[in-house]
Every structure is written in structure tokens, then in C-alpha cells.
Amino acid sequence: MITSAFSSFATVTSTLSSSAWIDILTAPFMVNAAIAGLLISLAAGFIGYFVIARKSAFAAHALAHIGLPGATGAVLIGIPVNIGLGVFALAGALTIGALGKKAGKREVATGSILAFALGLGLFFSRLSSAASQQMQAILFGSILTITSGQLWAFLVVDIVLFAVLALIYHPLLFSTVDENVAQAKGVPITAMNLIFMALMALVVTVSSQAVGTLLIFALVVTPAAAANTLTRSPLSSMIWGSVICLFSIWGGLVISTVLPTPPSFVIVTLSTLVWAISQGIAAARK
């Protein structure tokens, strides 16, 4: 249902005059999408810094996929998709977190579980036609269908994220820079790792609403990576990561209104473009 709404929306926009797409940009579903974009960007930019610094990009990618069977399973048993995705992502995060910071580099183990989770997600989706219909939205996002209820949930996630980050910022950064020294100085590194992974699972769950589980990298990792190359302090990297993320999502919403393209495609394109430019700047500096 969502996907068909999607494609018909794209078809409609392609035939609209310029005054009509201004109406679309101010329509309630678009306002919801814009607010969601802001809330997602704040979360993704701030957690993204630690994802990059702790070299956990692949773990972030994997968490979204581990969430997939949760999402399709949720449809199967008739509970909200986000809850199913979130529960699976959180369980995956705590498992990877319990294995330690270096687990992020266990690519074979993480990748194998990722593939299995995707397969399981497909299996669940085949068990019910409802789940099957939602599959594309889960994989590639459906930012235009975000409800006010979901926005409140996103706001709660942001508040939790910022409250926890404010509390553990210094110890988390210390354990990120050097786990041995941080541990020697009394930082509870296992707790830091578990909290970080849990926060990442929350952000992945929220962000997958915008671009889907397959394209999550472009929101949680790519903008943070671009910001990391261009800035010289953790805080400025987080802020710029959020700004790049917001630019990508809002840009994606505007451009996909004017041009007959799915928003996820434009969001991912813009985010990758900014990253490519940042890499070019970094290369030019050397």
C-alpha cells in the first residue's frame, strides 16, 4: 500500500505545474517528513561521529539489516514495524557490544549474521502479503508516510540520545581514543561500548524510516565521515554531520517533489555527493 502510494505520488508530481508542487511542499505529510528529517539528522550526526571514530560503520550497517526480520516479523504479527525493527536492532547491538569494541572489525562474523538476518526478513515477508507489500518501504524507506505519532517517538529517541550523550560524553570519547588508557584510568569500557551500541540501534531504527534499512549507511555514516574530514573537534564534527544529513534529507524532499524520483534516491545521492566533495577537499589539502 505504501509503495503504491509512493509510485503514484511520483507520477502525480511529474505532471504538476510549479505552483502545485509548492502546495505539496506545504502539505501535512511533507511537513511531517521535514520534521522527521530534522529529528533524524540531529540523532544521526551526533551518533555518527562515534560510529566513525570507533570504526563501527559496518556494525551500523549490519544493525539495520539485523532489524529487517524484526520489521517484517512485526507486520506478520500485527505490531508497528518500528518496534519490531528496534527490538531486533537493539538485541543485535547488545550482542555485538558484548563482544567488545573490536567486534566491529569482525567483518566475517558480522557479515554472516547480516546475510542470515536478511534471509530471515525475506522469509517472514513471504509468510504474509501485508509484510510482502511493506518490504520495499522497509528496505528503501518511506519518509513521506511518517505519522505524527512516529514524530513523537523520534523526539523521545532524540531526547534520550542527547541526555545519555551529555552524561557519558567524556568517558565515551576517552574510551574511543584509547580503550587501554581509558580502562587504566577507570572508565567502564564495557558499559561504554554497550551504551554506545544501544544508542546506535535507536538511531538506526529511527533513520531507517527515512531511507530504509539498505540505505542507512548514507545517513548514519556518510555525513559523519564527511564532517570528520572537514572539522577539527568532536563537537564541530557532530554538528556538521547533522547539517550535512539535514541538507541531504531536506534536499531529497524538495528535489523529489520537483523531479519524478523517490526521495530515498535523492537523499542518498546528496549525502554521497557531499562526502565525495569532502574527500576531494581532504586530498587537495595534502
Binding site: A53, I168, H170, V177
Partner: protein, 306 residues
């Protein structure tokens, strides 16, 4: 040669008589087990305050483990470890720790200065702004370790040697009484190594710091060493410098011929490759078998047995 050695012993003993009675590091019958393997055992020794002590031993002998035991990060199987009279792990705020490979596992834009700041506020929960006194301490620590001019460079832009200096600055910034360094020379070029020795000498003299250094290169450290912990045959021993810096012991320790030369000034040099030396010098050499018999009777203060 023997006379010189005794002379140096006497000098060090008089130094230590004036020191505070609480040992910087005290091991009593300590053994450490990881998995099913006993790393080392029967560790009983004291390191006096104000010492500069090398930790020597072959690869895998448990040198880094020893540091981790002092930090209380690895539980001991038997015995007790006390740092300044407190159980290991309870006084870590007074210990500066410089790991072997600092910040190699990070891809971040954090700068040297921000990294050193973590040595002051890195364990604190909540948001903290740096006070002016803390900023001054950070600058001072960066100056001491010789990278004040690179304070705003990112760790990711730094070489291994430069990161090593950041690690040292981070350890120094909290003004520790005990400084533990794990292979600090490994990433440094020769001027950097000499400079670090000078810095360590300064910290020891001006700031009264007790220093322990895991290192294979004793040549560099000899001018400032007051003693050494040697991990030999599965046991850690401590001996003042005149005792341990001996060709027989080092030969046995590393399982290869190591020669100690003493110059007229009393300086000693470890020559790991006597094969390239003039033939006349081989008289100081001992076979590993001789060295082994030498080792058995050798405990701190027992130099007469040799």
C-alpha cells in the same frame, strides 16, 4: 670490572636509604594466570620511590601483563600487589599509563590537545568545560613531551612517534606519581628516543616521579636507570642497576650473547652483537649454562654469590 659494579651498587644503595619507607610498587608472592597458562609466578619485590626501572624480558615473557597487574586490570592468581601502599587498581589516578600503540584504533578528527585534555576530564560524567588551570596543565604536558607546536594537529594526521608523545602528554597531564611506559621507544626516531630519555630524567629529578619502562633497548636507558625488573624463567625479579646490568644475566635473559662494557666513567653499554666486536672483548662472555647457574643464586642483594 667487578669493582666498578660494586661501586655503583654502593652509590645506589645510599640513594635509596634517604627515600620514603612506602614502596612505590610492592609485589608479594604474585602469580598471574590467563586461561590455563601461568604467565609468571613468585613475584616478590619492592620498587623504592623515585626509581627509574626498566622491565626487561623476551617477547611473551609477560612485561605488558606486569604493567596491567600494577594497574589492577588483570587479577592476580596468588599474592598481593600494592601501589603506594594501596591495593593495585585503587590508586590509578596517581598512575600515568602510556600504552605500546596509542590511539591506533581510531579514525577521528580529535586533536593532540583535545586528546591530552581527556587525561584530565576523560573519566568524568556530565559536561565539563576546561578551567584555565587545566588548559595551562595541558600546554605544559605538551611542552614536556615535545609536541606543543603540534597541539592542533589531528591524531589521524600524526605518525606513530608523534602519537606516542601525545600519549605521554596525556599520561603526564594529571601529574602522576608513577609513570608506566610500554615500549615507548618503539615508534621514535633516534633523536626522539634521546629526547624521551631526557624528558624521563627530568620527570624523575624535578617532579620526583617513579618511572617504569618496558623496553628492549637498555643502552638508551642506562644513564637514568636505578634498577630493573627482569622476567626470567617465568618469574619477575627486581634488582638495582649494578646487579642486573650484567652480561651473564642478560645473556641468559635473552638466550643470546649480550655483552656489558664498562668505561672509565662507569657508563655501561649493552652490545647485543659481539660478533662484530674486536676479538679481545670476548672475555666478558658466558655460555647460557654458566649464566643459568649464575641466575639461580642471584636475588637482590645477593651479588656475593656470583
Amino acid at each position: 670490572m667487578q669493582k666498578l659494579s660494586h661501586h655503583m651498587m654502593a652509590v645506589h644503595q645510599t640513594c635509596h636509604q634517604t627515600a620514603s619507607p612506602v614502596a612505590a610498587v610492592q609485589f608479594s608472592h604474585v602469580s598471574v594466570q590467563r586461561g590455563k597458562r601461568i604467565i609468571w609466578s613468585h613475584g616478590t619485590f619492592q620498587i623504592p620511590p623515585h626509581s627509574v626501572v626498566a622491565i626487561v624480558g623476551t617477547n611473551g615473557a609477560g612485561k605488558t601483563t606486569l604493567l596491567n597487574v600494577e594497574l589492577g586490570l588483570i587479577p592476580v592468581k596468588t599474592g598481593t600487589v600494592r601501589i603506594w601502599g594501596e591495593p593495585a587498581g585503587t590508586a590509578n589516578q596517581h598512575i600515568g599509563y602510556v600504552p605500546q600503540n596509542y590511539a591506533t584504533d581510531i579514525d577521528s578528527n580529535i586533536t593532540a590537545e583535545q586528546s591530552v585534555a581527556l587525561g584530565l576530564i576523560g573519566t568524568r560524567f556530565g559536561i565539563h568545560r576546561l578551567k584555565n588551570s587545566q588548559k595551562a596543565a595541558i600546554t605544559h604536558a605538551l611542552e614536556l613531551s615535545g609536541i606543543a607546536d603540534k597541539a592542533n594537529l589531528r591524531l589521524s594526521e600524526m605518525s606513530g612517534g608523534m602519537r606516542q608523545r601525545v600519549a605521554i602528554a596525556q599520561a603526564l597531564v594529571s601529574n602522576p606519581q608513577l609513570l608506566l611506559l610500554d615500549e615507548p621507544f618503539a615508534n621514535l626516531d633516534i633523536p626522539g628516543q634521546r629526547e624521551l630519555v631526557r624528558v624521563l630524567a627530568d620527570l624523575n629529578e624535578k617532579y620526583n616521579m617513579t618511572i617504569q619502562i618496558v623496553s628492549h633497548d637498555l643502552n638508551l636507558l642506562l644513564p637514568i636507570l636505578t634498577g630493573a625488573i627482569y622476567l626470567l624463567d617465568g618469574h619477575p625479579h627486581y634488582a638495582p642497576v649494578g646487579n642486573v646490568m650484567d652480561s651473564k644475566l642478560l645473556t641468559h635473559l635473552y638466550g643470546t650473547h649480550v655483552e656489558v662494557l664498562k668505561t672509565a666513567e662507569g657508563d655501561m653499554y649493552v652490545r647485543p652483537d659481539p660478533a662484530v666486536e674486536p676479538k679481545g672483548r670476548s672475555e666478558h662472555m658466558h655460555t647460557p649454562a654458566e649464566a643459568a647457574s649464575f641466575h639461580v643464586s642471584r636475588e637482590p642483594g645477593g651479588e656475593d654469590n656470583s
